[in-house]
Structures are given as structure tokens and as C-alpha cells.
């Protein structure tokens, strides 16, 4: 099992969610977050005075999937979240040891 984490632009959330649903992903956890990558935020100008806003608003998705599906799910996210402009975000996967469904007590593969 893998945990896929994606940090994307907020306005791309709906497209990514729709794409994952079409692919067959059952659920996800979404949280608002903020951060920056290589572009280091942006600057705003008020009457000539520049302000650097370093932390930009982002959305963070967390999805548990079977290891065999992980690469496909990552591809789906990348394709749906892509704009080509700087700040599109990142997607990564890490191995997961245990998963338990709270309601039934099912474990691992069955709990996904």
C-alpha cells in the first residue's frame, strides 16, 4: 500500500477529484495548506512599496491506494493538476505499513 500526497493549486481541486473518481479512487483527505517551492511566493506593490508574500495558498490531498495502482494514480493527478505555470505543485508516494477501517476493523487491502 502507498500513501500518495499531492500539493496542488486550489482551483485545480475539482478537476483532480473528478479525474480520480473517474479512475476509480474511492476516497481522499483534503486540507488547505500554504507553502512555496522554487518560485518563492509573489510580490505585491502598494503605492510603489513592494511586499513579498512567501507562503501561497495550496491544497493538500492524501490518498491511500494499492501499490499496484500508485503509479497510475500519480499520473492521473499530475495530468489533471497541470497548468504549465510555475507553482503547479508536487505529488509523492510513500510506503504504508498498516491500514485499519475504524468502523469494521478490516485491515490493510480490505480497508482501502
Amino acid at each position: 500500500m502507498k500513501l500518495i500526497t499531492a500539493v496542488i493549486k486550489p482551483f485545480k481541486l475539482d478537476e483532480v477529484r473528478a479525474a480520480l473518481l473517474a479512475f476509480g479512487v474511492q476516497g481522499m483527505t483534503v486540507s488547505e495548506s500554504s507553502g512555496y517551492g522554487r518560485q518563492r511566493g509573489h510580490t505585491e506593490v502598494y503605492r510603489g512599496a513592494e511586499y513579498t508574500v512567501e507562503l501561497l495558498p495550496k491544497v493538500r490531498l492524501e490518498i491511500l491506494v494499492d501499490s499496484a495502482d500508485a503509479q497510475d494514480v500519480i499520473d492521473v493527478i499530475v495530468r489533471a493538476a497541470y497548468t504549465g505555470k510555475i507553482g503547479d505543485g508536487k505529488v509523492w508516494a510513500v510506503a504504508v505499513e498498516n491500514v485499519v477501517r475504524v468502523r469494521t476493523g478490516e485491515r490493510d487491502q480490505e480497508a482501502l
Partner: protein, 472 residues
């Protein structure tokens, strides 16, 4: 006043409306300034404008009008007790006309256009109110409200009324003063000197005496609500028609010319500011647009009926571009004129006043169709309109004298208040936010989510604890 006074209802209706428009500028200014501060200071910023309405509105009818437009004392002030509380100010003083018949005269300063005394008082009151409110823009986040209110009352009495008298009430900066006798009659159609140079100078002096906000130049202090700034700029523009067209004191073509000049100079000033921003910063911003509007309004104020439409376009363009560059001065020189009263009002007021020396276009003898009938006796055309450099010299001198008078007097008041009441709130209060610590309120309750929020109603809590104890 020799002529018998007769009310002109058209002019009077126009002037009551103009006064109402100018009064609307001060709450408009509260929005303009309020949006530019941080959210923790928005109420204090707005209350400084509303506070000025309170204190100046009262003082003006007690001794303000009398001190500005009563009987002259040495060219500096007028007698404050002559019309104290507006008693004795009348439109029905019995008089004998030159042909021997009986008539009535008025001691309204607008009597010649048939506008009654009380309407004249109302119109002038609104100018005093907004001038004081303008100053507060340099004081964001850090000044005791009580000291501000006391300052407003003292400043309007010691600085505003005398300067209003000197320029408009027949004092030393008017057509009967020393500059007029030596050179030519100064031109200030609607208050570039009395309102904008005066307020801008006072704002600079206070910024220097009171000192910078904590974190000025280091922490970001960006405007918290630009739509509020845009609403404020819109209300200021609307109200300014009362300011400039109303300064004709009558509903006529000259008021129309002032209206057109006000509109076009403001429109072009906004474009000028935006062009400077686009070239310098890469963005044409909404704050720049709103600021350009105000810069244009300020600069055209003294010139409103004294220049033709083309002159107004140039004044607007120059004011928009120069003020956009001038607002950066505070970072270079390190004074915290928080909301750019100096960069917009002092620089804009000086530009408008001095540019009259280049662009003044007054109706001349033999003109078949003059644009406006505004022609103060002894005033000359500007340098670009064949009048030579005399008017330019006059305008420059009047501007400088006003800066010195306003600067010195404001400094004395500011230092006296610093030594007695003190200006600054504590560092802790400033960091926490002046709205909560000084006014006991917050501008926005963003956490409440429509319900009672996280706050606890203290009185009901005390009651339930008492009930609980009784039960035990």
C-alpha cells in the same frame, strides 16, 4: 455691503447641496483611509475622521466662522466673539440704500450672490472639517484618540481659522494683503492653500514629531481592504464637486467650468499615476488609481475655475505623475507619513497652487466668450497665457508662506501635546492593535461564523456561577 440683500433661491439651493456634498467627503475619507490601514486599526482610522466631524462641527459654529470671516484684526485673524455661536449673523439688518430708500443687508460672506449667512457658514464649516480629518492620514495605528481630539480642536482654532482668514477673509494672503500689493492677487479658487497645503504640512510635522509606527519599513503594512479604498475615492470624487463647483458660490457657467475641470483633471491624474506605476513597478494597481483620483482632485482645487480645459488636463497629468513618484519619499527620508498625506495633499496642493502661475487663463477685457467669469481684481494670466512671471511668483510666495505658517504653528501645538497628554499609545497596545486596546472594538469578527463565536457573555456567566453556588 451697499446693495439690498435679496435671497437668490437658485444659488441658495445649489449652495446647500454643495455644502452637503463636501460634508460627505469626510466619511468618504474615513473609508479611503480606513481601507489603507491594517485590519487591526481600521476603526481608529475611521474614527479620527468622524471625531474631526464632531469637534470641528461644534467649534465652527461657536467661534470658527467668526474667527475666519468676522472683522479683521491685523490681517491675521478675525474677531472670534463677533458672531460667537452665530449670534448676530443675520440676513435682515436694516439699512438705507444709496437712493435713500430702506432695504436690508446681510453679513453673509456670500451676500453678493444672494446666499444667506447660515448657508455660507454651513459651506465653510465643511471645509474646516475635512481639512482636520485629512491630517489623520499620517497618524495610523499609534496615536491616543484623546490627544487627537484635543489636537483637532486646538489646531483648527490656532492654524486653520487664521489661515482661512488670511486667504479668504481679507487677510495678508488675500487680494488685500502684502503679496497682492507688491505683485498680483493670489489665486486659490477652492482651497488649495487653506485645505491641502495646510493639512499636508501639518501631517508632515506630526509624522516627524510623533515618530514611526513600530516596524515601519521592516514589517509589511499593506492595505487591508482595497474595495473600501475605492468606495472612499468614489465618495471623495463625488463630494469634491461641492468643494470646487460650490466655491463659485452660485449656480452659473463658472461653476460649470469648475465641474468640467475637476472631472477632466481627475481623470487624467488617475491615468498619469497608473502610467508611472506600470512603467516603474510593472502593474497598474487599484490603489494607484484611487490615489491618482485624489491627487488630481487636490491639484485642480485651487485652479478649478482659473484655468481652461486644456490647462486642467495638464495640471491633472503632472499631478498624477509627480504625486505617484512623491509617495516614495517617506521611505527615502524615513518619516512615517502612514497614508501619504504629504505625497498626495502637500505635493498635490503645492503643484496646483504653483501651476496656476503657468496655466491661469482669466477672462480679459474684450474677450467675447470667456470660459468662466472668475477674474479676481489684480490677478494676472499665467506664464503660458501671456501674463509673464508675476502670477507664478505670487503663487509660489503664497504657497511658501502657508507652509511656514502652518508648519511652525503645528509644531508648537504638537510639542505642547507631546509634553502634556502624550501622543503615542504603549508599544504593547500598538502591537495588539489600537482598535481593541483603545476603542474596545474590532473591525471584523471573522472567527464567529455567524453564531456567538468563541466569546463568553461575562454577565450571564457570572449569574450562572452565582446560581450554582446558591444550589450547593
Amino acid at each position: 455691503m451697499d446693495a439690498s440683500f435679496a435671497v437668490d433661491t437658485g444659488n441658495t439651493a445649489f449652495m446647500i447641496l454643495a455644502a452637503s456634498l463636501v460634508l460627505l467627503m469626510t466619511p468618504g475619507l474615513a473609508f479611503f483611509y480606513g481601507g489603507m490601514t491594517r485590519s487591526k486599526s481600521v476603526l481608529n482610522m475611521m474614527m479620527m475622521s468622524f471625531g474631526a466631524m464632531g469637534i470641528v462641527g461644534l467649534i465652527y459654529v461657536l467661534w470658527g466662522y467668526s474667527m475666519s470671516f468676522g472683522t479683521d484684526i491685523g490681517g491675521i485673524i478675525a474677531n472670534p466673539f463677533e458672531f460667537f455661536g452665530l449670534v448676530g449673523l443675520s440676513d435682515a439688518i436694516p439699512t438705507t440704500l444709496s437712493d435713500g430708500t430702506a432695504g436690508v443687508m446681510s453679513n453673509s460672506l456670500m451676500a453678493s450672490t444672494g446666499v444667506p449667512a447660515m448657508v455660507a457658514v454651513g459651506f465653510q464649516l465643511t471645509f474646516a472639517v475635512i481639512t482636520v480629518a485629512l491630517i489623520s492620514g499620517s497618524l495610523a495605528d499609534r496615536v491616543k484618540f484623546a490627544t487627537w481630539m484635543v489636537f483637532a480642536g486646538i489646531w483648527v482654532t490656532i492654524v486653520y481659522f487664521p489661515i482661512a482668514h488670511m486667504v479668504w477673509g481679507g487677510g495678508i494672503l488675500s487680494g488685500s494683503g502684502f503679496i497682492a500689493k507688491a505683485l498680483s492677487t493670489p489665486i486659490d479658487f477652492a482651497g488649495g492653500t487653506v485645505v491641502h497645503i495646510n493639512a499636508g504640512t501639518a501631517a508632515l510635522v506630526l509624522a516627524l514629531v510623533i515618530g514611526k509606527r513600530k516596524g515601519f519599513g521592516k514589517d509589511p503594512m499593506k492595505p487591508h481592504n482595497l474595495p473600501l479604498v475605492m468606495i472612499g475615492a468614489a465618495l471623495l470624487w463625488f463630494g469634491w464637486f461641492g468643494f470646487n463647483a460650490g466655491s463659485e458660490f452660485g449656480a452659473d457657467g463658472t461653476a460649470g467650468q469648475a465641474w468640467i475641470n475637476t472631472t477632466v483633471a481627475t481623470a487624467v491624474a488617475m491615468l498619469g499615476w497608473l502610467i508611472v506605476e506600470k512603467l516603474r513597478d510593472g502593474h497598474a494597481t487599484s490603489l494607484g488609481g484611487a490615489s491618482g483620483v485624489v491627487a488630481g482632485l487636490v491639484a485642480i482645487t485651487p485652479a478649478a475655475a482659473a484655468v481652461d480645459t486644456i490647462g486642467a488636463i495638464f495640471i491633472g497629468l503632472i499631478a498624477g505623475a509627480v504625486c505617484a513618484l512623491a509617495v516614495g519619499l517617506k521611505y527615502r527620508f524615513g518619516y512615517d507619513d502612514s497614508l501619504d498625506v504629504v505625497g498626495v495633499h502637500l505635493v498635490g496642493g503645492l503643484l496646483g497652487t504653483v501651476l496656476i502661475g503657468f496655466f491661469a487663463h482669466l477672462p480679459q477685457e474684450g474677450d467675447s466668450a470667456p470660459l468662466s467669469t472668475f477674474a479676481p481684481a489684480g490677478a494676472q494670466n499665467g506664464l503660458f497665457y501671456g501674463g509673464g512671471a508675476t502670477q507664478l511668483l505670487t503663487q509660489t510666495l503664497v504657497a511658501l508662506v502657508s507652509v511656514v505658517v502652518s508648519g511652525v504653528l503645528t509644531y508648537i501645538i504638537a510639542m505642547a501635546l507631546k509634553a502634556t497628554m502624550g501622543w503615542r499609545i504603549s508599544d504593547d497596545d500598538e502591537a495588539e492593535g489600537i482598535d481593541v486596546t483603545i476603542h474596545g472594538e474590532q473591525g471584523y469578527d471573522l472567527d464567529a461564523g455567524g453564531g456567538s463565536g468563541h466569546g463568553v457573555l461575562t454577565s450571564s456567566l457570572t449569574k450562572s456561577v452565582a446560581t450554582l453556588k446558591a444550589q450547593l
